[in-house]
């Protein structure tokens, strides 16, 4: 398979920047899986992740003339995908997302520890869903998905220090919420 990400003049990246639809399709075919996977990690909803992948590539196409072919395509796409996912999280009501039932229905592996009571998992998921989306995204990517802080920072468009701060704030708020519900983690 040819390397579609080459930054040589006349390459796919240059042609994409110039608005070539075939080049855009080649980049889509190469990057749709990682983009989908990244979005799924944030929103944890397969149907929404598919819609947001389409939305992300639409935004990518709309911004093609601002793309710099000297820079790698993947991190740029991931940044746009993260923004789309955050927009989606902001539009959701906390009560209906990330409940334990939804989490259980998703094809995630491995399954949660059966030693933890279902009620605690459910309350934790609800408390997590009540966190501000920017904190949730940082915590889920850095803590649950164990992505390098540098990559999380690049995707969120913030510094590594800001990622650590957001994770700390998310965990502190989560602990307070659980304590209010009578759970002492």
């Amino acid at each position: 398979m040819p390397d579609v990400s080459s930054s040589v003049p006349g390459s796919v990246l240059h042609r994409f920047r110039d608005g070539d639809l075939d080049a855009f399709e080649a980049l889509f075919r190469e990057h749709q899986r990682p983009v989908y996977g990244w979005i799924l990690r944030i929103v944890r909803n397969t149907a929404a992740a598919e819609d947001l992948t389409v939305e992300t590539f639409w935004r990518i196409h709309r911004a093609h003339d601002r793309f710099q072919p000297e820079c790698p395509f993947g991190p740029w796409a991931r940044r746009i995908a993260t923004r789309a996912a955050l927009d989606w999280l902001r539009a959701q009501r906390p009560e209906v997302e990330l409940t334990a039932q939804i989490a259980d229905a998703l094809p995630f592996a491995p399954a949660g520890n059966p030693g933890i009571a279902a009620e605690i998992r459910s309350k934790t998921a609800l408390a997590f869903g009540r966190l501000p989306p920017s904190l949730r995204a940082a915590a889920i990517l850095a803590v649950v998905e164990e992505q390098p802080h540098k990559e999380v920072a690049a995707a969120l468009g913030i510094t590594v220090g800001a990622v650590k701060l957001r994770v700390f704030r998310a965990l502190r708020l989560l602990r307070k919420d659980l304590e209010k519900q009578g759970i002492m983690p």
Binding site: F28, Q32, R33, V54, L98, R121, A139, V144, E145, P185
Partner: protein
């Protein structure tokens, strides 16, 4: 919150929301949906609203019913 508390919350979170399996991929080919989205972007957007059609129909009906009013309308236009 000390480091021990932080680790306990992290463990609870990981066990509540298990990580997404590597290699997750969409269940369908998303390229046709992307193309539809792009096409919708470039589709002509000069459709006439229903209200304009209703207004034109009303005026035409009025002119047919009362042809004597046509010169008056034209005078005021």
């Amino acid at each position: 919150m000390n480091a021990q508390d932080e680790n306990r919350i992290k463990q609870l979170l990981k066990q509540t929301l298990p990580p997404v399996a590597d290699g997750a991929e969409p269940e369908r080919d998303l390229w046709p949906a992307v193309l539809r989205r792009l096409d919708a972007d470039v589709a002509p957007r000069h459709a006439v609203p229903w209200f304009d059609w209703a207004l034109i129909s009303g005026l035409a009906l009025f002119a047919i019913s009362f042809p004597a009013t046509i010169p008056v309308f034209l005078y005021y236009m």
